[in-house]
């Protein structure tokens, strides 16, 4: 019943090559033990040594206090507090490159690229690689495209990780900033508490008339009042936390209201 299909030349060739590989390994290979195993064991010893070394440096240069940072960071930060108003969200370092993408792609036009688009494309490329590159050639000098792709990937991930690591955190704006904003943005005096709270809490993601740092693709809020939403609606947004924004439902009601009033009054300088 077997249907004899003619194998394509490529298939025949690669099967022959693998057979050749098998024969070569049989005739001139070396036994895994002790030869290769020795190298593996040596490398693994180095790895365990490095891990223990890092643990020691981390522990002995830091202290019991969360602010006693040491060379490699604190032993732990302050205990988690869902009701806090100042925080800087920061993932572990191997997510920095993704994290930094969200500073490049901004809400609302292109943030989907940073959150979903690019990671999905990277994943597809990762899994599809063996089917995209089906040439038999393995010598590096004859694979210029593959090698360039590797170098570019490594370089861009390196740069993004680095930039994510040194990315400027929102510095709590001083009281001059409050005066200046009230004046330049034509804000009524009554929103001062909301503005202060905003500058402490929200500028780690949102920019506002040049204050704060843009993060996670969060939109600029300088003219958010122009969207015609009511104070209540803004408070609801804060409670819900749309998209990547955390929910601020744990803030006291009057704080939510003062921020809401501030947002409602924000109609830009013009």
């Amino acid at each position: 019943m077997s249907v004899q299909r003619k194998k394509s030349r490529r298939v025949v060739e690669r099967e022959a090559q693998f057979k050749q590989y098998r024969a070569d390994v049989q005739s001139r290979g070396k036994p895994f033990y002790p030869w290769a195993m020795f190298h593996d064991a040596a490398m693994s010893t180095v790895v365990v040594g490095v891990i223990i070394g890092l643990a020691c440096v981390w522990y002995f240069t830091s202290g019991e206090d969360p602010h006693d940072v040491g060379w490699l960071g604190p032993r732990y930060a302050e205990p988690a507090d869902p009701g806090t108003t100042t925080f800087v969200p920061r993932p572990d370092w191997y997510f920095y490159f993704l994290f930094y993408l969200l500073r490049i792609f901004k809400w609302p036009d292109s943030v989907i690229l940073g959150t979903v688009g690019i990671p999905t494309i990277l994943m597809i490329l990762l899994f599809a690689l063996p089917f995209l590159d089906v040439r038999r050639e393995r010598r590096i000098v004859r694979r210029p495209v593959a090698v360039t792709a590797l170098l570019l990937t490594a370089a861009s991930m390196g740069v993004l990780t680095y930039k994510g690591a040194v990315a400027e955190e929102a510095t709590a704006a001083g009281s001059e900033a409050v005066e200046q904003l009230i004046e330049e943005q034509n804000l009524p005096e009554g929103v001062r508490p909301g503005l202060e709270l905003f500058l402490r809490t929200c500028t780690s993601c949102h920019t506002y008339a040049g204050e704060g740092s843009s993060n996670l693709g969060a939109p600029d809020l300088t003219t958010i009042g122009d969207t015609g939403r009511s104070v209540e609606q803004f408070m609801q947004i804060l409670r819900e936390g749309p998209g990547a924004m955390p929910s601020f439902a744990n803030l006291p009601e009057e704080n939510l209201r003062s921020v809401g009033e501030f947002l409602e009054a924000s109609k830009g300088a013009g």
Partner: protein
């Protein structure tokens, strides 16, 4: 005087038989000894290098995580009221607790870095090509599961960094189309990050993902043994280079046990 020698050798034979008996017993019933022998004495290409040690180095880093993680689990208490304290207790009070936690924490980074290095080696050598495509895919799965291990483990100390990074991380996943909101529900175990989230992350971090990773590593290594590892592509005696029509007369260094690691 051949007689005493003979008796001695017979006794020795008996001793050897007695010593080997358990091994034979196991072999007869499982074939495991033969499998181990095959694993240890199988041939590998004569030109494999230090680059080839990165895979087993990754495995070592993962085993460090498994062992230190099991010890941490004996002291860690996954509840928002107790997690932070138990982490402090492990770090500051438990004998060598700092070492175990420190190794687990930094081992995680080393594990991820080694996976990337190993992947770069495989890429550079073109080792993802026929017939090893499937092993590349298994490896890619391992990479992603490994990063999820990092993500779920990051929350467990229940400090500010952990909490807010996870709030944002989970929210970001929620922005994904179709699966996004569903994932958030599964991870959070509710609308907000709290008690249920912590126990879910804990279970995923210490049971679900490590189990999957162990299984995939098993498959990965099975394929490595079955297919063999690739030679260095630039090596003049690369196995299967297809260049020598007839097997070339072996070079001297290959016939004799190698003098050195032959890493170049």
């Amino acid at each position: 005087m051949a007689v005493p020698v003979r008796t001695k050798s017979r006794r020795r034979q008996q001793l050897e038989e007695a010593a080997l008996y358990p091994l034979d017993w196991v072999e007869e019933r499982s074939g495991l000894v033969g499998a181990l022998k095959y694993f240890l004495f199988r041939k590998v290409p004569g030109d494999i290098s230090w680059g080839h040690t990165l895979g087993s180095a990754t495995l070592t880093a993962f085993l460090v995580q498994a062992i230190t993680g099991a010890i941490l689990a004996m002291y860690y208490k996954p509840h928002p009221d107790t997690a932070y304290e138990s982490i402090q207790y492990i770090t500051n009070d438990v004998t060598l607790g700092w070492l175990v936690r420190g190794m687990h924490r930094w081992g995680a980074s080393v594990f991820i870095i080694l996976m990337f290095f190993h992947m770069a080696r495989v890429f550079l050598y073109g080792a993802y090509k026929y017939p090893r495509e499937l092993n590349w895919i298994i490896g890619a799965l391992l990479l992603i599961l490994g990063m999820f291990e990092g993500f779920t483990g990051y929350l467990l100390p229940w400090d500010q960094t952990a909490y807010w990074a996870t709030v944002v991380g989970v929210n970001l996943q929620g922005t994904g189309p179709f699966l996004g909101p569903f994932l958030v529900n599964v991870l959070n175990g509710g609308a907000e990050i709290g008690v249920d989230t912590l126990s879910r992350f804990y279970s995923i971090h210490m049971l679900l993902l490590p189990g999957a990773i162990f299984a995939l590593i098993g498959l990965h290594l099975w394929l490595v043994i079955r297919l063999g590892v690739t030679s260095q592509p630039w090596s003049p005696e690369a196995a299967g280079s297809g260049e020598p029509e007839e097997p070339r007369p072996a070079r001297e260094g290959l016939v004799r046990p190698a003098r050195s690691g032959g890493s170049e």
